[in-house]
Symmetry: C2
Subunit: 209 residues, 2 copies
Amino acid sequence: MNDTFLKLDKEKQQRIINAALLEFAEKGYKYASTNEIVKRAGIGKGMLFYYFNSKKELYYFLVNYCIDSVMEQFVGKIDTSITDMIERLAHISYLKLKYFKENPEISHFLVTFFLKETEPLPEELQKKYERMFQIGMDKVYVFNQIQYDSFRDDIDPKKAVQLIEWMLSGYQRDFMQKYQGKGIDDIPLDELWNDFDEYLQILKTCFYK
Amino acid sequence: MNDTFLKLDKEKQQRIINAALLEFAEKGYKYASTNEIVKRAGIGKGMLFYYFNSKKELYYFLVNYCIDSVMEQFVGKIDTSITDMIERLAHISYLKLKYFKENPEISHFLVTFFLKETEPLPEELQKKYERMFQIGMDKVYVFNQIQYDSFRDDIDPKKAVQLIEWMLSGYQRDFMQKYQGKGIDDIPLDELWNDFDEYLQILKTCFYK
DNA sequence: ACGGATATTGACCAGTGTGGTCTATTTTTG
DNA sequence: CAAAAATAGACCACACTGGTCAATATCCGT
């Protein structure tokens, strides 16, 4: 990775990164085209290789970039002090949706990355990726004291948690499908959070004592 | 479409169809490779074009083939006499999972088809596709008499239905992710349906009066 | 204002893979 | 046994690939 790239004004950097994220997201590593990337980024072909040396290095840079972003803007923001189960899961959902809205290109790239990607990462990067995953999992699922006591007695709380997670991920998926591709500001956020809250209320009414 | 293809023994036909479905599923119309298809199907290059004339015709044939299959093996089997809301939705889920298990290649192809595909269909085929969708929707959602009365009075039944659908689709997604790629018979079905039933019971306990 | 360094472009390269054709061969059939 | 149908795969022109590099534009210290 050439320093020159880092010295670019942020707007141009972003343009290049987003163009590359989009191309890799759409086609996966192998079939992504560097020609397409430079065209979308509006730079000369030579520059991409001046900045990144090779397609592979560019790809690694992006993965690393995404990990850092997710760690900072998602994992790092998880509030582990919330002890109510539903509130905790809803908090996670909220952060995920917020992240998706604020970083649609990265989100798109990451979805492709861990659903389809077959290209291996260099060991170090792979480790970093797994570490992020582990930290995320811990923050989401490890309560100091798992609080199952608020659930009704006539259901298996573990299954209930699973059901609730499914519902929240359903809400997320609908959200993403609906607003993918739309500009950040076209999304009527207040309305959506209200809606989301109503669903949460129902969950509490139905699953808690 | 050449008649010769239809006269082939079923096994060879299936091999070709599945090879093509897989390739289109993985890469989408534009980037699918006919070379890859013939290699996977174990036939000479010429034959594919002898049977189907062009990549495009092959693709249309597959779409049509999938529609017919889904109509017969999924939509056609929906039992519209089930009036209990949760039972009805669960019935649909059950049929979907069964279809997925019995037709993994078609399922894979169809997922790509309506999530990513940009290649347009000829008018007639497009209409047929939309008709299938419409009939499916009607069968799933149009009850002669929508029965909201079994839901508890303190929740909005429409939102509840939405939540239940999300849960079921979550179960489906987990199922598919877990068993995609595995042979049909490796799946411990009885176990899974029992599990599924337990989730259903919880839903009824929680959402019904 | 100059000149060396740095940044940038895009024509160009060899190589690979494309959809599709066609001839030569094998298999089927009457 | 010959005419017809089915099959294989070498071959085609072409599009596109990741990457290079010489030419040029821009910047910056003097």
